[in-house]
């Protein structure tokens, strides 16, 4: 059983479209991180959310942490080919445990066609 379920697994869209990807869990996390991984490289942190209900914006990317700190979403406005990559969510401090062990979801593979 996956602790963090990401959906959709795959997403292929045209440049200019909007999209939302989800990260859901039945566990409560102290914080949640989103990473983007490009082919042949390691994941790179995009954002960390720590407060239930928190919304953070990074240019065209909007991240939200659920009120109960069990889920998160990433919304991309007017997607561009440069947004293509694997988006990974990672939770820390599951059910009040150590924050040192990040648990990753399986990722959403996004492809934005020009």
């Amino acid at each position: 059983t996956q602790l963090l379920e990401q959906s959709p697994q795959f997403l292929s869209i045209q440049e200019g479209e909007n999209l939302t990807v989800y990260c859901n869990s039945s566990s409560v996390f102290s914080s949640l991180q989103w990473y983007r991984q490009e082919p042949g490289e390691g994941p790179v942190l995009l954002v960390t959310v720590v407060t239930g209900g928190e919304v953070k914006k990074l240019k065209r990317l909007t991240f939200q942490f659920g009120d109960a700190r069990k889920d998160s979403s990433l919304h991309i406005t007017a997607a561009q080919p440069g947004d293509t990559g694997l988006y990974l969510c990672a939770g820390a401090g599951k059910n009040g445990g150590s924050q040192g062990n990040l648990i990753f979801g399986k990722g959403t593979k996004l492809s934005v066609k020009p």
């Binding site: 102290s30 914080s31 991180q33 990473y35 991984q37 042949g40 490289e41 390691g42 994941p43 790179v44 942190l45 960390t48 720590v50 694997l86 990974l88 990672a90 820390a92 401090g93 150590s98 924050q99 040192g100 062990n101 990040l102 648990i103 990753f104 399986k106 990722g107 593979k109």
Partner: protein
């Protein structure tokens, strides 16, 4: 100047051989990790070291042995390689153990066991 560097980037070897992957970080971080990413892109923690001490040891076969000669280095030695060990292995570091800080990943080492 690469923050987290691992070598080699590619490794192709026969079943039964022993191989090592080296990792170095120049960020001055206290904590280093080894993650395994399988063919479905699932990223799973294997080991974590804080100040050269083993903190996390997930259910990884004894054939895998990490070694941290100092805070800046964490190497991974694998004995008696099996087909199922084929994956991309990522080294990562973070500033402090126990805090949900950013993980800085290396570029990965793609291991193929024939």
């Amino acid at each position: 100047d690469t923050a987290v560097s691992q070598t080699p980037k590619y490794l192709v070897t026969q079943m039964g051989n022993d191989k090592s992957i080296k990792c170095e970080q120049n960020l001055g971080h206290d904590t280093m990790y080894w993650y395994k990413q399988d063919s479905k892109k699932f990223l799973k923690i294997m080991f974590s070291y804080n100040n050269k001490e083993l903190i996390i040891n997930e259910t990884v076969p004894n054939r895998f042995s990490p070694k941290s000669p100092d805070k800046a280095h964490l190497n991974l030695h694998i004995n008696s390689l099996e087909l199922g060990d084929s994956a991309v292995y990522f080294c990562a570091s973070s500033q402090l153990w126990g805090r949900a800080g950013e993980l800085f990943f290396g570029e990965g080492s793609r291991l193929t066991v024939l």
